[in-house]
């Protein structure tokens, strides 16, 4: 009995780590075994060794010792498990990669419930396919059979019923799917969050009846920690993916910005300014100055249907096509017809561009243009008249062989020409009223004596004031040409 005293004190020692805890557990189990043996030996051999009148008292003391040990055992076991689960939950809290999380879960799990083979399976968010799996103790050739277990057989039952399942003898359960010849018993525990099954654990043992209801309960607690860790890993991955998309969008935005002019060219008789304010990271508006000769300047404003990356692609194609055709010095009507055919050949009919293209002779003030279905630029004459430059033809890219007509106006001293995209006129206020062409005309009429860049900044203020920042749903592009 001397040696068991020492062992009892060993059991009482606090478990400070998982390994120490398990070492203590083994000592404890040996101690219980020793006590049982002592009790049996005393009962069997006592006649002659212990006086009969003391026998009852002695056995009673042994029983009390047995109870005490049982109690210590339970306390120790619970403490060990709580300690382990807490430790695992803590390490799970810092893991963010789904595969890391799953590996960590399986490896930690072995300290809570021992197994010979195990798998953890996670459903994709829509629940239609398997998003992740980590396996331990299966032959790689059996991977197919292991996968088959997921959503079927015992695991299928546990996932459908959202309850753990202990099978003491797999050979007696018809639901069992054989993926490992040595397996005798199995424990399956589903994982769920917010009432939705997100996956399952599958533990297998070479021993019959290796898993208890108690193991199942521990594993359920464990599974709830695991579910949180899995959800967090997913969220983390989504954030990373979103960041990547944001980075790519911002790269696309920078590339698109490079396709817009930095600054307007300067001429003796003309002052020019332009601005593009995309509503999203990547917009569908385009404007450009294309110097053709020392005095001739190509002016273009366009709006690609839609927004985002698809619109940016179309815009880049349109810009390239227009710049190539513009440098060929064809008539403007021909240039637009050729750009139309190019876009029509290279995009679906529902993808189109509305664009105005004109060439300004900066010496004479003559502007020759064709309007391909774009909001007509407004020419504010010095005498207060406002002219809309709408002549041209169909929007570009939707129909083959469209015809365009070119037209000519002359800009005189004091005239202001405003190019805009529909983001300016269709900006809406809370009562769903649009800023509209009339307000645009009125706003610019009182600004014609200001510089082009000032006209633009005032106009933007006017539009924002009308609809509030939240009302600016679309890209806004403005370009102002002023004849001095």
């Amino acid at each position: 009995m001397e040696s068991s005293d020492k062992e009892i004190s060993a059991v009482a020692k606090t478990a400070t780590s998982a390994n120490e805890g398990w070492a203590e557990r083994r000592v404890f189990e040996e101690l219980v075994q020793l006590l049982h043996e002592t009790k049996r030996e005393i009962s069997e051999r006592s006649p002659g060794v212990i006086p009969t009148e003391r026998m009852g008292e002695f056995l009673e003391q042994l029983s009390r010792l047995e109870h005490l040990l049982e109690h210590i055992g339970e306390v120790q076991q619970s403490r060990l498990e709580i300690h382990l689960i807490t430790q695992i939950a803590l390490s799970l809290a810092s893991a963010l990669d789904l595969n890391d999380v799953l590996s960590l879960i399986l490896d930690s799990l072995k300290q809570v419930v021992d197994y010979d083979a195990a798998g953890i399976f996670v459903l994709s968010k829509d629940g239609n396919e398997m998003e992740g799996e980590i396996l331990r103790g299966y032959r790689s050739s059996k991977r197919g059979a292991v996968r088959q277990k997921f959503g079927q057989g015992l695991m299928g039952w546990a996932m459908e019923n959202m309850a753990p399942l202990v099978v003491s003898d797999v050979s007696r359960d018809p639901r069992y799917i054989d993926a490992r010849s040595r397996t005798r018993s199995e424990l399956v525990v589903p994982m769920f969050t917010a009432g939705r099954v997100i996956g399952a654990f599958n533990l297998e043992s070479d021993r019959l009846g290796a898993f208890s209801e108690r193991d199942a309960n521990h594993l359920m607690t464990f599974a709830s920690h695991a579910s949180v860790a899995i959800e967090r890993a997913r969220l983390h991955r989504e954030i990373l993916e979103k960041n990547k998309i944001d980075e790519e969008l911002s790269l696309a935005r920078r590339m698109q910005k490079d396709l817009l002019p930095d600054e307007a060219p300067e001429y003796e008789r003309f002052k020019i300014a332009g601005i593009n304010r995309p509503s999203e990271m990547v917009g569908g508006d385009y404007y450009d100055y294309i110097p053709l000769t020392h005095k001739d300047l190509g002016l273009v404003i366009g709006d690609v249907v839609g927004k985002g990356i698809p619109a940016a692609f179309t815009m880049a194609s349109f810009r390239a096509a227009l710049r190539i055709e513009a440098s060929s010095h064809y008539a403007i009507s021909t240039i637009l017809a050729r750009v139309n055919d190019f876009l029509n050949d290279s995009t679906k009919p529902e993808i189109f561009v509305t664009a105005f293209y004109g060439v300004l002779d900066t010496q004479t003030g003559d502007l020759t243009y064709a309007n391909g279905g774009h909001n007509p630029p407004l020419l504010f004459r010095k005498d207060g008249q406002v002219q809309e430059l709408s002549e041209g033809g169909m929007l570009l890219g939707a129909f083959p062989a469209a015809l365009y007509h070119e037209h000519r106006v002359t800009l005189n001293s004091g005239d202001v020409l405003l190019f805009y995209t529909d983001g300016a006129t269709e900006a809406e206020n809370d009562s769903e009223q649009q800023f509209g062409v009339e307000r645009l005309k009125e706003a610019v009429s009182v600004l014609v004596l200001e510089s082009p860049s000032h006209i633009i900044s005032e106009l933007l203020k006017e539009i924002s004031g009308f609809c509030g920042e939240s009302g600016l749903q679309d890209d806004i592009t403005l370009m102002v040409v002023q004849c001095l």
Binding site: G306, E350, L395
Partner: protein
């Protein structure tokens, strides 16, 4: 966007309602038009009276519909074109491409 089709006098009348603004609407619209062509319809009327709002992507949807119908040897007429859509047609010059009628009845009559 909501779509409802019916057949009147052998013409497929497609009622378009709500906001027509590209994205998933475009695919839904094309699917309906293609399936009606598959059902053997050649003459179409798009009834736009219930369209609350349409942006340039919405125009793209109409253009896509017209192209699909024409490529299949069919014809398209529009009915109840709202003021807003009419002004978009004017700016983009689509007014020269689309055969617009005041009412569905007018559009149907034009087929006879």
């Amino acid at each position: 966007m909501k779509l409802k089709s019916r057949v009147t006098d052998g013409v497929l009348v497609l009622e378009v309602k709500g906001k027509v603004m590209g994205g998933p609407d475009a695919a839904a619209f094309q699917d309906v038009v293609k399936s009606e062509i598959g059902n053997g319809h050649k003459q179409f009327v798009f009834d736009l009276g219930g369209v609350d709002w349409m942006n340039s992507s919405g125009l793209g949807i109409l253009i896509g519909g017209l192209t699909t119908i024409k490529n299949a040897g069919g014809q398209l007429k529009l009915a109840n074109v709202t003021e807003k859509i009419q002004s978009l047609f004017m700016i983009t010059k689509l007014v020269t491409i689309f055969d617009s009628h005041k009412t569905v009845e007018d559009a149907l009559k034009a087929y006879q």
